[in-house]
Every structure is written in structure tokens, then in C-alpha cells.
């Protein structure tokens, strides 16, 4: 049932060209080079270290691997990670 609603939402947003992150409650991720990473619409932190950060989102767990990573700011909607970011993957 839930999958059906999600599919409908997806199609609906595609037809009307609405931003998907709002319709589907997905994270919006913005990179600035490999120095800074914005994650909007996150669902909390799962793991936090200077080499690896895992963030929970609606699209799955986002794993950020890098060096000297610091959480610059963290609020309800947004995380800003600063450091040398090597890779980013959904697991």
C-alpha cells in the first residue's frame, strides 16, 4: 500500500515537475568541491567520527567517508559537514 502511494507521488511530481525532495521527503545533498557537504532533510545521525559519518535519510543511510571531518552546524533540517570528503554512498 505504502509503495503504491510512493509511486503515485513520484509520477505526480514528475508530471507536474515538482521538486522531488519535497514530494518524496528525500534528502537534498549539495557538495562544494570536496570540502563541504550540505545535507538537507536528514533524519538524524547514526555514526559520527572524523573519518566516517553516517546519516539517516528517507532514501537510506548515507555514508560519508573522508578525513578530518567536522560537523559545522546541525539543526533539525540540515547538516553541514566540513573536511576532506572522499566518498559518499547510500547503503
Amino acid at each position: 500500500m505504502k509503495k503504491k502511494i510512493d509511486d503515485m507521488k513520484k509520477n505526480f511530481s514528475e508530471i507536474l515537475e515538482l521538486p522531488k525532495e519535497i514530494m518524496l521527503d528525500f534528502p537534498k545533498i549539495t557538495f562544494i568541491g570536496n570540502l563541504q557537504l550540505y545535507i538537507e532533510n536528514h533524519k538524524g545521525i547514526i555514526e559520527y567520527g572524523s573519518l566516517r559519518i553516517r546519516v539517516n535519510t528517507n532514501a537510506g543511510i548515507l555514508r560519508v567517508v573522508g578525513k578530518n571531518m567536522v560537523i559545522k552546524t546541525i539543526v533539525m533540517e540540515e547538516i553541514v559537514i566540513v573536511g576532506e570528503i572522499d566518498s559518499l554512498e547510500f547503503t
Binding site: I45, Y48, I71, T73, I74
Partner: protein, 397 residues
Amino acid sequence: MLVIRIWNYFRGYVIIKIEGFTLEKFINLAISKNIILWDITRVDYTTLSAKVSTAGFKELRDVVQKVGCRVNVIEKKGYPFLVSKFKYRKMLFIGAILSISLVIFLTSFIWSIDVIGNERIKDEEIIKVLQSLEISEGIRKSTAKKADISNTLLLSIQELSFANIEIRGTKMIIEVRERSLAKIEIEKDVPCNIVALRKAVIEKIIVKNGRALVDKGEIVNEGQVLISGTINNENSDFPLLVHSQGNILARTKYNQIIEEPIIKTIDEETGEVFTTKEIVIGKKRIQLMNGEIPFKSYLEEKKIKEIGDLGLIRLPVVTIQHTYKEVKRIIIKQDIDALKHTTAVQGTQELMSRIPSESSVVSKDVRYMVEEQVLITEVIIEVIEDIGVKEKLTNTH
């Protein structure tokens, strides 16, 4: 962002250390309670450090209890903490304000006067004029009227063509320009004579305009008229006045006498040194002596250090280090031939700087005389130069 940082500074924030195992849970709980954490860094496996506003820190208490970790304040930062610090240390605050106001007060005075751009006029002469205006070191800046000073300077010292007063920090800089001494060129249509610049023997005389009064081989004195601009007219009673022109090449002599004692006493240092210090504040001198100078004959060396010069402000504080070096008198008889050579070279050099550049040297003669153990060297240089100088004809001629 700078705006946020300034905002945080004025609101005040604390740097905290969080110790525990489930620190991710701590962060998640904190953000769910709308507590803003920033600059979160992982120190090691069980510790985090973060910044949180003072209001947020109070709300963190619940989170801490739930997660079961420990929170310590490492540092308090921001304007509210600075103010509360001063609440307990009133004297520090008063002292800070006093010192700032003292600096402001002291910089409203002129502490030094510099005169630049003068070559012939002495500094003292300019400063004397300033003193007549009651301007000296230590007056208030507001009493020094720049326009008045420059006007008075220009009026009282005729040789000045320009005076500018600038106050830079606590320094008053007086920039002056002197009137150039360049010969005033006589206009082509003004009648004039040509007179001798110095005593000389005429070698050649070329007259382009005017009447020559001297001949080749004649000895002329300084100021003697060589080419006259007054030409007697046979047809009228009044003489014709012309602007005389011409070149007069003449042989002139320059000499230089140098006296050098043959027997010389030289002070040779023995290596023994005695030092004392002195502090000069304004006109007061404070001697820091430790005993009398233990030498019979000595050389004194002064090392002046301006410790009051702080760049912007110059306080009249100077330390002087006197170094007394013990010396032994030794009498040396110098080699006459070597001495003759050096004095001749020295004399020639001094002469060459005096001789006008356009003249050509004809001969050089060096004479030596020994008188009472003193070698007198006379260097004579003969040159051929143009000695003619234009002089305006006045009505009395």
C-alpha cells in the same frame, strides 16, 4: 557565516566536552529539542567537543540525563562573559579605560618637531621663529594653526619660498623650500657689463657685443669690468648702451694648503674598558655611575639610544652608554715621503671639488715645506676658465 558568529559572540556561548558512548544519540536528541550545536568535533572514541549557546546549554541538561553522558564546560566565550568578568574586576576595567584615555590625551600634544628641506637655513633659525609663535615641543595640537605658522615662517625668513606644516601623529613636520640661488639671467635687451669673477690673467677674449677693456696677458682683479656695455657715440652726446656678450678665457690659480705634523701622538687602546650609563629625560640627566673612571687617559665613546621613540609617539627619553677605553700615548715619527704623497693627493682632491667643471687644468704644482716638525703641503692648480659674469648697467655708470 560572519553575521552568525557576531550574533553568537554577543549572545555568549560555551565550548563543551561531552563524554559518553552513544554520542550520536546525544546529537540527535539535542537537535530534536531545537538546541543548536555547531563545530562538533570528535576528540576520541568517547568524547566530542562542541559549541552551544548559553541558553541551549541549560536545555541540554535533560538530554544529558536521558543519554547518560557527562558534559563539562571547557571555555566560556562571548560578550556577556566578558562583562561579568569585569563586574568582579572593576579596577581592571577602570585601568583599561584610564590607559586608553591617557594615550588619547598624550597624542593630542606635539612631542617632536622635524624640519625638512632646508639646506642653507639652519633648523635652529626656523625653530626660533616657531618659538616666537609660542610653538615648541609639548604644546597642544589645537593651538598650532598651520596657516599662521607657514605665513609667519615665510614672512620672517625671506630665503624661504615655501613652507608647509603637517602634523603626523604627535610629530610636527615642517617642510620648507629655499629660494634657489641661481644667477638671475639678465634679459637680452638690458644693457650690461661683463666683469671678472676672480683675479686672473687673460688668455683669450672674444667679444660678441660691447667694447673690450682688457687685452690678452693683462692681470685683472675681481669685479673689474672686462667688456663694457657703454659705447661712446661720436654722433651724439649720450653713449650707446648695449647688452654686452662675449667669452673671456683666463688663467686662474687655485691653491690648497694642508698641514700635517710629522711627529704624531697616537692613542693606542690597551683593551681595558669601563662603561657607565646615563638616562636623559627631557633636560634632566641621571648618571648611573659605579665609581670613578679608573684610567689616566682614555677615549670616550657615546652610544645614544632613543628608547622613547615609539613610532607614533616620541617621548624625550634617551639612554646614553658611555664607554671609556683606556689608551696609551705613543709618539710616532711619520715617514716624510709617504706623508708628502698622501697630503698631495688629499690636496688635489679637495681642489678639484672647488674648480668649476667647465674649466680645463693647465698645470699642477705641489710645494712642500717643513716648519717646526710640521709638513706644509701647498697644491697649486692652474686652470683656464671663463671668468666673465654679466652685471647690469645702472644709470650711474
